[in-house]
Symmetry: C2
Subunit: 114 residues, 2 copies
DNA sequence: AATGTATTTTACCAATTAGATAATTAACTT
DNA sequence: AAGTTAATTATCTAATTGGTAAAATACATT
């Protein structure tokens, strides 16, 4: 098993259940039962998935009476994005284009609201 | 084991050896032996890692005599980046700033070479 | 044809993971 | 105190992973 943070993050993300949990948490805090609700899976199984996400630093949990509210922590996603950035030129067609900055500026001007 | 493309990609990336292989391939094609060289690992082990990357669509291989030159295929990285984009607001401090587009424009002007 | 080089396949092993069920802990409600 | 709800821990099984060693395949050269 890998222990470096990036590997731990990638492997935590390599499961659709866990990604769905993160999606749910991106809408706000949730309890374990709330997170479990959409899945045909026992609560302990969900608890395990949460522990994986927690170990990866993608989720933190508070205590509120008998509830353990879960919260999204996006720090590791930043690291993943930073790693990905090295490869952007391979998949982002616009990345190498000469007129890139022109289109960027135009995009910002049309979508910006300053 | 998960079979959806995104999970397969994430799980292929969840290993430092495989990420190092991708890094090597980002500099150009390489044979299995060339890829194996930096690692204290037998050739079959490397071959297995390559198969994981291949299954994820991150690597393709040609045939040149008895060599199987490997090449980086970044398609899946694009999918990963697209998934990540949903979470950008959680980790990119600048994402929600009002002056975002101004700094972007400045960056493009200083680093661009059109 | 024989040999050497590149790579893969097979057989095997140890460690990990994902899930289930059952039991347990913790906190609230009555 | 008793019962209910939230969540975890313990234990088991099946499947997967990452590695090795040895054999097999594919091609090039002599």
């Amino acid at each position: 098993m890998q222990t470096d943070p990036l590997s731990v993050a990638f492997s935590a993300l390599a499961d659709p259940t866990r990604r769905a949990m993160l999606a749910r948490l991106s809408a706000g805090e949730a309890t374990v039962n709330e997170l479990a609700e959409p899945f045909a899976m026992t609560l302990p199984a969900v608890s395990k998935h949460l522990k994986v996400l927690e170990r990866a630093g993608l989720v933190s949990r508070g205590r509120n009476a008998q509830f353990r509210p879960c919260r999204l922590e996006a720090g590791p996603l930043k690291d993943v994005a930073a790693w990905m950035e090295h490869y952007r030129r391979f998949w982002d067609d616009s990345f190498n284009r000469l007129d890139d900055y022109l289109r960027e500026i135009q995009h910002k001007e049309t979508s910006g609201d300053a």
